[in-house]
Symmetry: C2
Subunit: 380 residues, 2 copies
Amino acid sequence: MHNFEFYNPTRVLFGRGTIPQIGPAAAGEGVSRVLLVAGGGSIRENGVYQAVIQSLTAQGIDVVEGWGVRPNADVDTARQLVQTARDQGVDGVLAVGGGSVIDTAKSVAAGVYLEDVWDCFARQNGPARALPILVVLTISASGSEMDSWAVLTDREQHRKWRMSSPALFPRVTIIDPGVQTSLPWRQTVNGAVAVLSHLCATYVVGSFEETALALEESLMRSVIKMVDRLQADHADYGTRANLAWAATLAMNGLSSSGIDDGDWSAWSIESAISALHPDVAHGAGMAVILPAWMVYLHDSNPGQFGRWAASLWGAPTVEQGIAAMKTAFQRWGAPATLSDLGIGAGELREIAFSALSQGPLGKLRTLTARDVVELLKPVL
Amino acid sequence: MHNFEFYNPTRVLFGRGTIPQIGPAAAGEGVSRVLLVAGGGSIRENGVYQAVIQSLTAQGIDVVEGWGVRPNADVDTARQLVQTARDQGVDGVLAVGGGSVIDTAKSVAAGVYLEDVWDCFARQNGPARALPILVVLTISASGSEMDSWAVLTDREQHRKWRMSSPALFPRVTIIDPGVQTSLPWRQTVNGAVAVLSHLCATYVVGSFEETALALEESLMRSVIKMVDRLQADHADYGTRANLAWAATLAMNGLSSSGIDDGDWSAWSIESAISALHPDVAHGAGMAVILPAWMVYLHDSNPGQFGRWAASLWGAPTVEQGIAAMKTAFQRWGAPATLSDLGIGAGELREIAFSALSQGPLGKLRTLTARDVVELLKPVL
């Protein structure tokens, strides 16, 4: 077991009907004029926007609205919103949405103190401070609602990179799983696959970290069980709630404590794909890449992959475990090949080059551009 | 799944050789003159005391020493240390020890702002503020190193009560599992049994909180596995580390999130015993009471007790699960009967009366004094 520091000061308010607590929570953090960051407008349709505005204004908090964050959030939108935040003199940033919206909000909260927030991503040098960050979560997937990370894409340069800093922990996050019952099925599956991928990234490099590994197994099992249940009944609140809480815990640093980093090469390969194809959701990309990545790499830590196959899928071999995972993804309707994502053989080299753009790739084993191409070929 | 709030701002520094970080950590919290709270002197023998003093003084922090906390920490010691803290003008409190030392330190940190800190225990009304609390943990058991609770005993009145407040979260906790390799075996077992008991208190009232229940199962399984491994090799660092981290996570509010409170009646019955017999360690008392309590109450939530028996012990019935747990406790050398603890039939009524001293007892079902006596009779 490796030495580690665990610190996570985010206050989570979880459950049915919790959204009206956002106003008092923001006021409690000393926020009087907030930039509300949001996506394309679905929060107007499910009542979340109205509940948020009502709660904030009841506390006398001024609201400046910043719409238009797209999936695979881009740095240009963040830069524009930094300008808005400065012009309007806000003293807090509220994300109402999923991972892209939250990561944009984090970037804006830090960006008001910086010349260009992209420098933090490009130099992997987290910001020292940020405005208070608040979150009302509408899609459980990225875990950004309770972590210190943000991911943005530079669409021109085809770079999807991340930054981290204690300043990026949200002060307060509200999770009402009830609002996720109206999510398209595809988004629910994408979120769940993303969560499983994040847990795998640390789990597969483990060995003797029994407590952490057992926690990760329990979260992975809970996610799989809940998605299967939701497929039978999309609207069941309890199932949504358990899936949402597992998703948040999967990325808040806790379940991987004591494991030495993780192997984030699958994440980087998917990020390279999303950077080239911003219409590909992270979870959709991971549904294709995760099995291929496991096939290519399981020999590097066979004991741990064997444990994964046995404890998650009841499978006697890694190969059978991977097959069982692919069957589950297929049952859920996730994409299975790169061509399902609209990607052809001609792009493999560019994907590999982009995945390697921030230096060496992989921990189980260092991957070359050729490795990335070979890894992806079987799932063309 | 019930609504909940999760908030835990304690910063944990975990691992081998982490104790010298206490000085910089204290300085980082603005502490310049600290009250060091400790027990009977074992920390002088294992080098922990020397490492702590060296690290604090290297940062220019004045140290006022407050020794003499006993197992089942009493309020009189806390009151004396409050006086010391006031007289010496300290601006922070550092616990170097296990649960009793930490809970005394918490009580002192809050007590400097109060007329009498015992009022918080007696009225179950947590303190509004406290001096910064720091911890160097030497025994994993109570979870107090990463929670907002404190437990003290009034030895004259035979009352062992608890208080809670966000002000009681330690700012920084250092856990070096290496220092626990020299613990007497009995204390290791007492700690592990205490942890299992705490997890059971919330687990057995659950039903549909799949994510939380899976987390609790993984922690309970990890504890059982690690104690069995330690019995073969007391000094193995990795095993100690996994046990220590599971113990901390068991009580920090995380694994029980979404479960509606818990049934703390076994805890209250044991507290009544420890209040009458301060030489009985909490974990030793729980080793006797937990199985008896389960036998008496499992009918109140048979599905969940059945899940406990199957998933923890691979047992087809609750009765066989309880028997398997008793076998494990016996294998570890834990006490099995009240007479092992030096308690006779004549004390059962007084124990019952004391357990009920703060109002109705139990959540699975409300227990009367007669219930407590009947529950304990089979383990006389």
